[in-house]
């Protein structure tokens, strides 16, 4: 999830939201929205077990909620159109396009037969296309579904992801390149969320031509890191692609958990301090770059830790204890975080925040 300096201005958001949206808010939420310097969206589970998406203020207060038919995972937001999409958690088959300002009715997108969503996607910079990571589960290959992000979100094509267990994906700022994290783990809806090939994983990072789907470059990992699932991505302002990983190998190993790559260059794996790797529990659940501040945020629900890195050097700037850490997003200053036990920045709400946050204002 990235904040690329193109989010909607708060006043414009309020103006666009109009009377209907504002009238639908309880007074506390309206106050929260008026005070907000940033607005985020994230999936959540309510105490009654219901799932939804909430818009959230900079302080972490819930502004608005939209009900979902099942659990969501990652989200995409288009500053160009103001539309957002929440993707079902794998092996879910729905995604919901919605307008955080409630100017338009939500649209349910269904994956085609033989495909399910992997939980992530991204808009093209002009907001006209939506790309979604998908599983061709009979073919055991990752795909990128392409949807016309107009009114009905019709599926208009697909590209091969050149890997298995495709998870997060993003788009370069100029819209010319798709960046794909293939986690390397085989799953099949017949077996739920069971990981079917832990002893023979094939993680990879792939760059595709956004127009043709042609492979630009693909990076696999050395055999010693075959169980390092490359899963989440964000892009820094110099075009450097940051990735975060989850280790499926021996628990007493100290694998690299993040790294970067650029077009035309090999991947670089970050050798984090040993104690940081331990505190991250060999598992990074989410990554986000704050371009303005030049920092990268990582969170780990396993270790209960949020780590902030320098975007230029990769050095650790800060570590925070955050029990059941979930999402990260670029904040007005630094990195916004959430947790499964309801913490979102400085506010605790009676919901379980899901794994990812997207910044929309």
């Amino acid at each position: 999830m990235s904040f690329r300096g193109e989010t909607i201005d708060r006043r414009n958001f309020l103006k666009a939201a109009g009377i209907t949206f504002a009238a639908g808010l309880v007074p506390g939420s309206l106050m929260a929205l008026e005070r907000a310097d940033a607005v985020y969206a994230s999936g959540f589970r309510a105490p009654d077990g219901a799932f939804g998406i909430a818009t959230v203020s900079e302080r972490g207060e819930i502004i608005d909620r939209i009900t979902l038919p099942a659990r969501a995972h990652g989200l995409a937001f288009s500053p160009a159109t103001g539309r957002a999409v929440a993707f079902a958690r794998r092996p879910g088959t729905f995604a919901m396009a919605f307008d955080p300002a409630r100017k338009a009715e939500p649209v349910i997108i269904t994956s085609p037969v033989g495909r399910h969503f992997y939980g992530h996607g991204h808009f093209s910079p002009d907001g006209r296309l939506l790309y979604a990571s998908e599983n061709d589960f009979e073919g055991n290959r990752g795909m990128i579904g392409i949807y016309d992000a107009g009114q009905s979100f019709q599926r208009i094509g697909e590209f091969e992801a050149y890997g298995i267990g495709t998870h997060d994906m993003t788009v370069s700022d100029d819209g010319k390149m798709l960046v794909i994290a293939n986690g390397g783990i085989e799953t099949h809806p017949d077996f739920g969320r069971t990981k079917l090939n832990i002893d023979r994983m094939e993680p990879s990072l792939v760059l595709l031509d956004a127009k043709s789907g042609a492979l630009i470059q693909k990076h696999t990992l050395p055999s010693s890191l075959a169980q390092l699932s490359t899963r989440h991505l964000d892009i820094a302002d110099n075009g450097r692609i940051w990735f975060a990983c989850q280790w499926e190998g021996a628990r007493n190993a100290l694998p690299p958990l993040a790294g970067w790559l650029s077009k035309g260059e090999d991947i670089a794996l970050l050798d984090l301090p040993e104690e940081t790797t331990v505190r991250l529990g060999n598992y990074v659940g989410a990554i986000a770059v704050n371009r303005r501040d030049g920092v990268v945020g990582l969170t780990s629900p396993v270790g209960g830790t949020a780590v902030t890195l320098d975007v230029k050097t990769g050095l650790v700037l800060k570590e925070d204890v955050l029990r059941e850490a979930a999402g990260v997003a670029p904040a007005k200053s630094g990195i916004a975080t959430s947790s499964y036990d309801g913490q979102f920045n400085q506010t605790r709400s009676r919901v379980a925040w899901d794994q990812h946050i997207v910044r929309i204002v």
Partner: protein, 368 residues
């Protein structure tokens, strides 16, 4: 701890002004290590190892029964082998709930049971072996190198109950019979591999029983118990989603009775019952209840009661699934099984999971 080095690894200089607020990580589940070791030891020694040992014993009995049938074909010996198949299948179903560790490595799970198989890959491949009388399928060792769909319980069920199985009662040392004996031997070989791996004192047994910083499986007791809970949650989900919903998704939904596991031999419900008893047995024998505060413990007894009720209900549904799915009374029982299954999953997920510190439950907290 073992640092993994690889080309492209950027070494960073130590940071002197390290703004660290955390002395330690904050894992969601923090439990007394001694108590955890007790529970994990009980789970391994009281459920997992005996489960694989019992599977090996059942496979031996199956192999012996097949040998008798091959040497002296008769209706009685065929009936005995069919009964033995039911016992072997149930023995597997009891330990099948463990879908972690060595069983999911090197295709061991699929070598014992290849299912679901929507495209009937296994059936087609077994029929091809039968039509060619491929002698390499009659030796457990060479069979073990063939497609996983041809060497496990699915293949054996077809050989004993499928079209042409009646010839087993008449033809001495037939190809079909010797192939069946090899399948039994193959299942026995995989069971022995699993027992050997779990019995090795310095292997996975130790890793599961003694979590710690240098442990290759679990760094903390919390991780170990979370994984143990995961076996129960995923096991309960598999019963509901893989074994029942495969053919019956609820009232007014299309049914697929011939997609059910072992519909041909009417072992669908005995398998489900053995899965459920496996869940109950692991929960009981591990003593997981001891890790909960007194006030939270009723959730464990409630799970036992519900699993028992579900098991009892399976015995009351017509074993002929084509009849069961069109019988209103049986459909009600199927609906009840689905509802109870969902409830058991919730009790494990949110009830037990919440009580050990996973504030939003087990499944919610498994990242992605």
């Amino acid at each position: 701890m073992r640092r993994i080095l690889a080309a492209g690894l950027l070494s960073l200089l130590p940071l002197s002004a390290f703004a660290q607020e955390a002395d330690n990580a904050a894992p969601a589940v923090a439990l007394p290590e001694a108590e955890v070791t007790k529970v994990m030891t009980a789970a391994v020694d009281g459920f997992i190892r005996p489960g694989y040992d019992a599977l090996g014993v059942s496979a031996e009995a199956m192999a012996a029964s097949m040998k008798t049938l091959c040497d002296a074909p008769s209706k009685a010996n065929l009936a005995a082998s069919r009964t033995e198949f039911g016992k072997l299948a149930a023995s597997w179903a009891h330990i099948e709930i463990v879908r972690v560790g060595p069983v999911i490595e090197q295709n061991r799970f699929e070598r014992i049971l290849f299912y679901p198989d929507r495209k009937s890959t296994g059936l087609k491949q077994v029929q091809a072996i039968l039509s060619k009388s491929d002698e390499t399928a009659t030796d457990a060792k060479t069979l073990g190198t063939k497609s996983v769909a041809t060497q496990g319980l699915g293949a054996l069920e077809y050989l004993l109950f499928g079209t042409g199985s009646e010839t087993l009662a008449a033809d001495k040392n037939s190809f079909r019979c010797r192939y069946g004996a090899a399948v039994a031997g193959n299942v026995g070989n995989v069971a022995k591999e699993l027992s050997d791996i779990w019995d090795a004192p310095d292997g996975i047994q130790k890793a599961w029983e003694q979590p710690g910083p240098d442990n290759p499986a679990f760094r903390t007791g919390g991780e170990a118990i979370t994984a143990l809970l995961g076996i129960l949650v995923h096991g309960a989900e598999a019963v509901r989603d893989q074994r029942i919903e495969t053919f019956y998704k609820g009232a007014d939904k299309v049914t697929f009775p011939k997609q059910a596991l072992f519909w041909r031999s009417e072992n669908t419900w005995p398998m489900v019952a053995a899965n459920l008893s496996g869940l109950s047995s692991l929960l009981e024998k591990s003593g997981m209840v001891a890790l909960l505060d007194e006030k939270d413990r009723p959730v464990v007894s409630a799970i036992h009661v519900q699993l028992k009720a579900m098991t009892d209900l399976t015995a009351k549904i017509d074993p002929d699934l084509e009849k069961a799915v069109v019988n209103p009374a049986d459909r009600k029982k199927l609906d009840a099984l689905l509802a109870d299954g969902k409830d058991v999953i919730a009790k494990l997920n949110d009830g037990y999971g919440g009580a050990i510190g996973l504030s939003s439950g087990f499944s919610f907290a498994d990242g992605d």
